[in-house]
């Protein structure tokens, strides 16, 4: 067993809003790196570089020197940093981290690491596909295959909405008035009838007391959503009560389709939320 003389931290991370990368390193590596970052930011070395320029040997050397490495350790630290960059590009990672990078009498050893990969690159990155399949629950897998985002929560109101922001805002509003959602489900942009139907099917599996559907059509069409709702209600006789709000693209067509089946739909989201309250007997 090698003697650990010191623990370092190093990573390459995407700075998304800065549209660049950082090479990050610290002499204070190990499990407390977040604590170091919060309380002693001066102990964290951060050097930015553009994607086009890439991590240069000069920049890698500068950081390795700031960590206090000399001679062969300097060379080996530079190599490690350059390899981190190679991995970042090759795997389309947003973070490639070694923590701790330990110094032993025989040199530098990467003891533990972490990577954050880009789901959106899965179509050309087999590694990402493999990992995705392993890490998803059954319901999440179902959601992923159907093409929408889904997170299971604790409450009893099933949620189907479109757009992550609108869905989150809806959950916030429900929480603010003391109601509790059973899930987050963003059916995605331009959802097909089949996708909306599958989303409803998935929500049924959660056995919520009530379902709130909130669609603001842009690229998503209210008429297509309405068709999926009608189909699902025909196929699932034990579906919980549904409160529907439809507005935006093809709103009139969507609401008319529902009316023909004697299904009521609101145009205003607050009216719909109040209806949910009423259904739940609150």
């Amino acid at each position: 067993m090698a003697t650990i003389q010191h623990e370092y931290y190093c990573s390459i991370a995407l700075d998304a809003s800065g549209r660049q990368f950082f090479l990050i390193a610290s002499k204070e590596g190990g499990i407390d790196i977040e604590e170091v970052a919060a309380t002693h930011p001066e102990d964290i070395i951060k050097e930015k570089f553009s994607f086009k320029q890439g991590l240069t040997r000069e920049l890698a050397k500068k950081v390795a020197e700031q960590l206090g490495f000399t001679n062969h350790l300097l060379d080996s630290a530079i190599d490690i940093f350059l390899k981190l960059w190679e991995i970042t590009i090759k795997t389309e990672a947003q973070l490639v981290e070694i923590n701790p990078l330990v110094l032993t009498p025989s040199g530098l050893i990467a003891v533990d690491g972490k990577m954050i990969l880009d789901d959106d690159a899965a179509f050309r990155q087999p590694l990402i596909q493999e990992l995705e399949e392993k890490n998803l629950s059954d319901l999440e897998k179902l959601a992923k295959e159907a093409g929408f985002s889904f997170v299971e929560l604790e409450g009893d109101i099933g949620i189907l909405a479109n757009g992550a922001g609108l869905t989150m805002a809806l959950l916030d509003v429900l929480s603010q008035i003391g109601l509790s959602p059973a899930n987050f489900l963003d059916v995605g942009g331009g959802a097909s009838k089949e996708r909306v139907y599958k989303a409803l099917e998935l929500i049924f599996k959660l056995k919520p007391k009530c379902i709130l559907i909130n669609i603001f059509g842009g690229i998503t069409r209210c008429d297509i959503v309405a068709e999926a709702i009608i189909q699902a209600l025909k196929d699932f006789s034990n579906a919980p009560p549904m409160v529907i709000r439809l507005t935006g693209t093809k709103e009139k067509e969507g609401i008319d389709l529902l009316k023909r089946e004697n299904i009521n739909a609101f145009k205003d989201v607050m009216e719909a939320v109040n209806k949910v309250k009423e259904v739940l007997g609150g």
């Binding site: 998304a16 959106d120 690159a121 992550a164 929480s175 603010q176």
Partner: protein
Amino acid sequence: MYISENSKVVVQGITGNQGAFHTKLMLEYGTNIVAGVTPKKGGQEVHGVPVFNTVEEAVQETGCDTSIVFVPARFTFEAVKESLLAGIIMTCTIAENVPVLDMLRLVEMAQERDQHLLGPNCPGMMIPDKIKLGIMPGDMCHYGNVAVISKSGTLSYEITKTIGNAGIGVSAYVGIGGDPVRGKTMNEAVEYYSNDPNTKKIVLIGEIGSDEEEKTAEFIKEHVSKPVIAYIAGKSAPEGKRMGHAGAIISGDFGTAQGKIEALKNAGALIADLPWDVPKLLES
């Protein structure tokens, strides 16, 4: 922001379902769509708009200067690159799930060439009553002097509609998109509209994840004297959960709704508790 009622628009991917459908809606709105592009479909027409094989050809034949891209995510890189190389001033990408490295390369290319990108994963932008370059509902509001800048698509429809219903006009509606790497950042959009003589107030619609609102708050504090009203979604999101958008991830303290709200308040912005509180804050 880099578009006007005089913009000549080309629709890339015009023969696809979404491309054709939204070309129709944009034409109905009055957007001056002069060309469409789909490789190998040159010579056709979609809703009376001539289709070309390449953007370059479309530029030569029609003088188009603005593009909206409806091609799927995995082909977005090539499509946007083509648009940049053809000299298009503003290229707006609707698709979600564009790989981050593709966007980084495109943003670097646009910056070097002094061209502009919007999106991806965005609804586009609109100058009400003048031009709609995107998939947002056209009837949310009329022209006025409030700029709406949003990371989210549908939530911004909700809020912009309540603004419109309150009789308040909008100078520009800009959906910067929900992905981590964007053509235009929130900060850049705020900078643009803080200098825009037609804009008197700015509405910001943010959500958990990334540090854009925090960076924008710093900018507002230093440089923006116009009133800013903000709504941040994701206050009730459980930590560590990913809520759909690549941008909407919370990690530690950073990127939380509370952190963003504090930063914006500190910068002098008014915070709306509920989406429909925005109009009343605009009137105050």
